[in-house]
């Protein structure tokens, strides 16, 4: 964000913290819905980081004496088929969701942006080949591509992150490339080239910072989708594996079979998924409106 800070340098010197406070209070005033989203995300991150302190039980501790208990004052959201506390597992599940969400959207958006900028910078044959390949990836439906990658690598955290990253790359590359095409002709890029800097330096130091707006928009737009995709994969049994706490996984198997006797097992994890994705979408939408209202996402 150093660039935005530089813009204010004509004004009386403002510290970076003040700039951030000013910007976020403006965002809150102008886009209350986005601020609500940001607040929910903040709570989620806090819950994930402090999971050990906030949650009353051990997420993996089974207690067969307390199987399928309805929500009560000891177990706010009830217990599951192994007697594990549902509330605790939802708190710990936010760790899984946030980690996979942030890691895969960061990787996907960054790789996509690099490919998009490279493609725009070189143009010609390199552009054509990269674009054809991105088009090819885009012709797989998102979930199908993620499922194929998981089926190749097997389930588990790292593989799920990779599986979610792959379908995000071409989508970001497409959007960033169209913004970067205009940059290529800019005088500062030409100046950098005249000074004898190589393509790598120009792409990373001069062009990447200038596609920050579409990059951040894509990144936040992916966050919600990534969490949703992780939940779907885990629900299908092709994502995160037991006994790890993950919201999609909590909805699998017993939650559906015992839905009639123990509906809390199916209700709360789904609410957690919906609420967190909702928060990310609210925030992402407002951020897009604030940064670049004309950008149309594919």
């Amino acid at each position: 964000m150093a660039r935005s800070g530089a813009k204010t340098s004509t004004l009386p010197v403002v510290s970076r913290l003040d700039w951030w406070l000013e910007a976020s209070s403006r965002f809150t005033r102008q886009r209350p819905l986005g601020a609500v989203g940001a607040a929910i995300i903040g709570i989620m991150i806090a819950a994930a980081v402090l999971a050990g302190l906030v949650s009353p039980y051990d997420p993996l501790a089974t207690d067969y004496g307390k199987m399928l208990q309805a929500p009560n004052s000891f177990h706010w959201f009830g217990t599951d088929i192994f007697g594990r506390d549902v509330f605790t597992r939802i708190i710990y599940g936010s760790r899984t969701a946030l980690w996979i969400g942030f890691a895969s959207s960061f990787l996907g958006a960054t790789l996509g942006a690099l490919i998009g900028v490279t493609s725009a910078y070189f143009g010609g044959k390199i552009d054509l080949v990269l674009q054809r390949f991105m088009d090819l990836l885009l012709s797989f439906p998102l979930v199908i591509l993620a499922l194929v990658v998981v089926s190749l690598l097997g389930s588990g955290m790292t593989n799920v992150i990779f599986a979610i990253t792959v379908p995000m790359v071409p989508r970001c590359a497409l959007v960033v490339r169209s913004s970067a095409l205009a940059l290529r002709e800019m005088p500062f890029v030409e100046a950098a080239r005249a000074l004898g800097f190589g393509p790598l330096h120009i792409i990373v130091r001069h062009m990447m910072p200038n596609v920050m707006a579409p990059y951040l928009i894509m990144l936040t737009a992916f966050l919600g989708q990534a969490i949703l995709l992780e939940a779907s994969l885990s629900f299908l049994g092709l994502g995160v594996t037991e006994p790890q706490a993950a919201w999609g996984l909590m909805l699998r198997g017993a939650a559906v079979e015992f839905a009639e006797r123990a509906p809390w097992m199916a209700i709360y994890p789904g609410l957690a998924i919906s609420l967190s994705v909702f928060a990310f979408n609210l925030f992402g939408d407002s951020l897009r409106d604030a940064l670049d209202p004309k950008l149309r996402l594919p």
Binding site: L136, V143, I144, L147, L238, S274
Partner: protein
Amino acid sequence: MHQYILKRLLLMIPTLFGVAVLIFLLLRVLPGDIVELKYAGTGSYAPKEALARERAQLGLDQPIWKQFITWIVGIPRLDFGTSMWTGRPITHEIAIRLELSIELAVMATFVAVLISVPLGTLAAVKQDSWVDYFVRIFSIAGLSIPSFWLGIVIILTFIIYFRWMPPLTFTPFWVDPKANLSQLIWPALAVGYRYSAVATRMTRSAVLEVLREDYIRTARAKGLWERAVVFRHALKNALLPVITVIGLEFAFLVGGLVVTEQVFNLNGIGKLFVEAISQRDYTMVQSLVLLTSFVFIFVNFLVDLINAYLDPRIRYR
């Protein structure tokens, strides 16, 4: 126009060929195959000769390029090979499930259009009112609620309040239309809600954009009824991007079907796909991926055609 259609159709072939090559290679670079999985399931020790015999039977001992040619040559004759797991022809396995999935997809699209076009238009006409806020939150919620969970909630509501269980077997439309529709409407709603969300947002922004045009001011200035301005002049011109987004979102519909069919226990293409993936049934996975990519590309081709038909300017670009 004919030339345009022909050009677009021909351009689909290299893309699909690329998809076929990519998926085929991907499925074969990684270690572990169906034969090992089959024997691992029995739990008994499998002699190397038995594994080799099984591989030879499935054609897995052949060089990769040979396997690829055998597969690709059959496709124009609609012969996708045989399933490595069940041993039955893939065309047959797909055919018996295709009707259900297509019907579900069509119904979900209907649900999406029926929700999104009126809501999006309403939100645009009443911009920044509480109606607009409600529609925007409703559509963002649609993007956020996983369709499989919505499905679980729907089933749960029925079981608890109406003592109704989703039927275990599928009733085709021509056997009993009423039973068929009452069975499929709920999964269609679960998938269609998410599908509608994107279309609602697109309708809203497209109508908003059109409402600022000069010809809308003209229409109002000549004293036209507001309803005629909105429906005849604004909505008609705003539909192009909406149709486009419905085509693009078809990819998400496919994904929605994959999970929703699990929840509602519908034996469709989505369920077949998940099964094939967990069984490492390569021939089945590659054929289904190729099929979904084809449908996806074809739907987008249809969307472009509709757009070109509705807006002659597109044809001459």
